[in-house]
Symmetry: none
Subunit: 229 residues, 2 copies
DNA sequence: AAGTCTTGTGATAGAATTATGAGATTCAAG
DNA sequence: CTTGAATCTCATAATTCTATCACAAGACTT
């Protein structure tokens, strides 16, 4: 999913809310569909296959909980995020919502700005899991959290520049494996277009060695590099 | 991992969370056990030998960190994955957790779907090493992984230069078979054009003998060499 | 047992590859 | 527009591999 515009389905029986929320989301560039009750919501969900569904809990005809359960049964919508709208304090409905397969909930009264940022973060989170899961790598006294772009080495948090981080990520993704220079270029330097000089990898390896200790990065002459703990 | 149902132990002092998470995991077909504090958790871990343990950090009687340390001391649970539940932003507890031997952490508030997909990926990660052994040759205390360009000898990882690696690969590809000098030249030295002196193979064999022990490389006079375990 | 052929070994030269220091260039934040 | 970090380049030094040679050591023949 590159930058395809995310589709959002909004289900609520109050026209006011429908309009306000819809306006705000469209403003952010999302493609918004609406439905006025659970039943209609499920139907539109099937047809539009949205990336995110915002469900009001209390609705006539079919409430949000039930709608959510229905939607969760649709295999195509497996990766769709579902979030509820609940009145503040309605804890029970939040729990019931999670139970039905929801991913999050948004408290009423709705604050557009909060809503928008929540939607963004939900969509962002969903975009990840496709390609690479298992986002945390732990080897000896090195911890790498790809999601957060964060590295902890010997209990100290370290900040690495982009390239260095990517290179480290690659090497640690399979400790012990020797990565050929070619492989490294492909992954870290996007390989196809950009042509970087032959010594570039070495220089970056050097940086990593400076920061994380010499011993872990082994050179395999004529082949490439590998990481060992 | 065949389809043996994975066992998950869930440890948290809040009944709500226990219930929600438990429900979601059971729904995915996992066998779920629960405990309400660290102490109880450790006991159940011993008894049930789960594949994955989800530990809340903050708990009465014995907190998650301590529980984790205890569990890590149990040899039978060596391969059990441990993951923490931590409140967002509680960085210190994340680090402490890793320090205690955890494999991952899950941020609160819990999003059931996120949780489930994380659990899946964690269990998958653990199941991998058994299943896919593609180009791996194993003979006695020698393991050769051509893809990864990796050699493990008597449990030690060894780095071999290109030619030596290729020569070893060839010989071990059919243990016991005698490779004629001519054959070796063909495969390892691209054979057709390049002319290498007569003693070159011998010298490389010598190197291998130095590194991997004399006995495995037998000389067959007038013919070539072979590898035996 | 001496002769002949083949392999093992130590030393070393030549090739290839990588490490490093210094500096140019790019890029983004202020 | 500065400024500084990040990234990349390049020339040179340092390493490590490879291959070769000369000779020692075995093994097989006759």
């Amino acid at each position: 999913m590159k930058d395809a515009i995310a589709k959002i389905l909004l289900v609520d029986d109050e026209p006011d809310i429908l309009e306000i929320v819809s306006y705000n989301l469209k403003n952010e560039g999302y493609q918004v569909f609406t439905a006025e009750n659970g039943k209609e919501g499920v139907q539109k969900a099937k047809k539009k296959k949205p990336d995110l569904i915002i469900l009001d809990v209390m609705m006539p005809v079919m409430d949000g909980i039930e709608a959510c359960e229905q939607i969760r049964k649709i295999p195509e919508l497996d990766h769709t995020i579902i979030t509820f709208l609940t009145a503040r304090g309605e804890d029970y409905s939040m729990i019931a919502g999670f139970d039905a397969g929801a991913d999050d909930y948004i408290a009423k009264p709705i604050k557009p700005r909060v809503l928008v940022s929540k939607v963004k973060s939900l969509l962002r989170r969903n975009a990840m899991p496709k390609g690479d899961e298992g986002n945390i790598i732990k080897i000896g006294d090195l911890i790498i959290d790809k999601d957060q772009y964060k590295i902890v080495f010997k209990k100290e948090e370290i900040i690495l520049p982009r390239k260095e981080f990517e290179l480290l990520s690659l090497l640690t993704s399979k400790p012990g494996k020797v990565f050929k220079r070619e492989e490294i270029l492909d992954v870290v330097w996007g390989g196809n277009e950009v042509i970087v000089g032959g010594r570039t990898i070495d220089v970056h390896i050097r940086k990593l060695r400076e920061k994380l200790g010499d011993d872990s990065f082994k050179t395999v002459k004529g082949v490439g590099y590998k990481y060992v703990k």
